[in-house]
């Protein structure tokens, strides 16, 4: 096999946090003691992504997703380890790397705040030296799929979050990069815009772009990514086909219940064998296998013991995925396992 398009080996990023007491006195003391705590945001990551692959990169808050993206894009210099993207070491040859990649950070914008969106696009055209016909064609295509027409004359600061995200997606893709990194591209968007962005990502992948997508929303990666990489504590804890994770999780549901009066959780456990009940007598959750119980059965069993004031059923989220990995519910694939 050829060298993968993205290749990281034992990649590590350590941040130093000053050991500071509170207030001015603490800061002053720090000036003298100069003590730091080392924090491994990324702790020995091995990752190969082949050309055309679409990888979901998920994990809990603080797992190290954004830091990984910043290392792969060359924004941060790794503390140790190696990284090569399309044959380039990103932090050593930023300019060559920049031409190969498009980056979207959901929480930051690359639009010029005081100028119409169109001006940012023109700047990018010149920055990436996109030939005029090429630029016109790409812009026309992006304008259509992201519905940018009404946004082009609008100043960056006047865009709503969803509008901004669409414009930022276009800005990152104007030079038609073969590799695209998306760090939480649907954060804060309503469901309608989310759907539009997801559809756009599907097309992007279908057209052969290599995509690495981080998100907290499992909905983002369905139909977009075939492969899921799960990080926790700066390490990859699972790497494998998305389908396996989905099937595993598809079985699982959680019901959150607030009873009118506190109930004995032991009694509920007894009434629903095989489920996992956690929480307080006044508010608890029942995790059950969808194929063993129906939601109605679970609710009926609880109602037999107490009046229900309120309840809600959750689809599994990232936390559940991570938990399942630790419980051994997912079999690790041999390819992605860190050494």
């Amino acid at each position: 096999m050829d060298e993968p398009l993205i290749r990281a080996r034992a990649l590590t990023k350590t941040f130093r946090r000053p050991d500071k007491g509170p207030g001015l006195a603490g800061s002053a003391r720090h000036l003298i003691t100069r003590k730091y705590t080392e924090h491994h945001a990324i702790d020995g990551i091995d990752l190969d992504v082949a050309a055309g692959e679409a990888v979901a990169y998920v994990g809990r808050n603080g797992a190290g997703k954004s830091t990984t993206v910043k290392l792969l894009t060359g924004i941060l210099v790794p503390s140790s380890g190696e990284v090569r993207v399309a044959g380039v070491v990103p932090h050593q040859d930023r300019i060559a790397n920049a031409r190969n990649i498009g980056v979207v950070f959901g929480q930051r914008t690359q639009l010029w705040w005081d100028l119409p969106v169109r001006e940012t696009f023109t700047l990018l055209r010149d920055m990436y030296r996109i030939p005029p016909e090429r630029y016109r064609a790409t812009l026309a295509r992006l304008t259509e799929v992201l519905d940018l027409g009404p946004l082009l004359p609008v100043t960056g600061r006047k865009l709503s979050l969803g509008q901004r995200m669409r414009a930022d997606l276009a800005a990152a893709l104007l030079h038609e990069p073969p590799i695209v990194y998306l760090d939480e591209p649907t954060i804060g968007l309503d469901i309608e815009v989310k759907d539009r962005v997801r559809e756009f990502l599907r097309d992007l992948v279908a057209n052969g772009t290599t995509v690495l997508l981080t998100t907290h929303d499992l909905g983002d990666i369905e139909d977009v990514c075939r492969r899921i990489v799960i990080v926790d504590g700066g390490r990859i804890i699972h790497d494998g086909p998305l389908a396996a994770v989905r099937d595993e999780l598809a079985r699982e549901r959680s019901m959150h219940v607030q009873p009118a009066v506190p109930v004995d959780l032991a009694a509920i456990r007894a009434a629903l064998p095989g489920t996992e009940v956690s929480g307080e007598p006044g508010e608890f959750s029942i995790r059950f296998d969808r194929f063993a119980y129906s939601a109605g059965q679970v609710a009926a069993a609880v109602m037999g013991l107490a009046e229900i004031r309120d309840f809600r059923i959750d689809e599994p989220g990232i936390e559940d995925v991570v938990r399942r990995v630790y419980e051994g519910g997912l079999v690790e694939s041999p390819t992605g396992a860190p050494a």
């Binding site: 941040f15 941060l76 980056v103 929480q107 010029w112 001006e119 055209r125 990436y128």
Partner: protein, 267 residues
């Protein structure tokens, strides 16, 4: 015809000039401050030189010329460069600058040049008004005028590099405002923008002459007045160019060092 390699930087200069127009209010405010400063200095020196006796070789028309030249150089390369830089570094937006296919330092210089277009235009207008109000100033002969123009042009990269270098300190300090004010205060004195260097006590004058600041006000002003002419003027311009080369290389090295310790805050 501009080469292809220049195209990204020309585009950055253009967009920076365009966005400067969006910052009309701070721009006008800072201009008002500078004009106020100019008027105060002109009035002050008019009183000091009212007797008709020159002070340290300066007559009133010469001093007028000195102050006007230093006003013009003061208008060039405003604090926009380092403030936007500081803001982007501290807010983490610099992450996006790092994913663009341009050299960071050259891109900031291009941005600064874009602003300079606007700054030169306003400086010219204010000068015209001041000339009308306070009387004409002596104009040097052609060769001297040419030397003056060279030294005036050299002010832009030199001042940019001073401002840019201090902007890089953001990587080491979280209180950039303090750094910026300190730099502005030091450079106002040591550049000779407030008081010509000849009035300085010996030690301060030596300090001013070994530091790069004199090149952003005193040098073009002295050349304009003919107080530095011929080889003397060429030597002063040489010092400007030397500092430009030294600071450019130094700032590049500092930037690379800064990137190694860069941590992007937030998300």
């Amino acid at each position: 015809m501009p080469s292809v390699a220049m195209r990204p930087y020309l585009a950055i200069a253009r967009i920076s000039w365009r966005s400067a127009l969006a910052y009309r209010i701070p721009f006008v405010l800072s201009l008002c401050m500078m004009v106020f400063n100019l008027l105060a200095m002109l009035s002050l020196w008019r009183v000091l030189l009212a007797s008709g006796h020159p002070l340290a070789g300066f007559t009133w028309p010469e001093m007028r010329a000195y102050l006007l030249v230093s006003f013009v150089t003061g208008c060039l390369v405003s604090s926009f460069t380092d403030f936007t830089m500081a803001f982007r570094i501290q807010s983490g937006l610099v992450a996006l600058d790092l994913t663009q296919p341009v050299h960071y330092q050259r891109a900031r210089f291009a941005q600064c040049l874009g602003m300079t277009v606007l700054e030169s235009a306003t400086a010219a207008v204010v000068c015209g008004a001041a000339l009308a109000a306070f009387g004409a100033i002596p104009v040097p002969a052609l060769p001297q005028l040419a030397l003056f123009l060279v030294s005036l042009v050299a002010v832009v990269p030199l001042k940019f590099l001073i401002v840019y270098s201090s902007g890089l300190l953001c990587f080491w300090t979280h209180n950039y405002l303090g750094v910026s004010f300190a730099r502005a205060a030091v450079s106002a004195v040591l550049s000779g923008a407030l008081v010509p260097l000849v009035f300085f006590p010996g030690w301060l004058r030596i300090l001013a002459e070994v530091l790069p600041f004199q090149g952003i006000a005193s040098t073009p002003a002295l050349i304009y007045l003919g107080q530095a002419s011929g080889w003397d003027a060429v030597r002063l311009i040489g010092i400007q160019l030397l500092w430009i080369a030294v600071l450019w290389a130094g700032a590049s090295a500092a930037w690379n060092a800064a990137l190694r310790r860069l941590t992007i805050h937030g998300g």
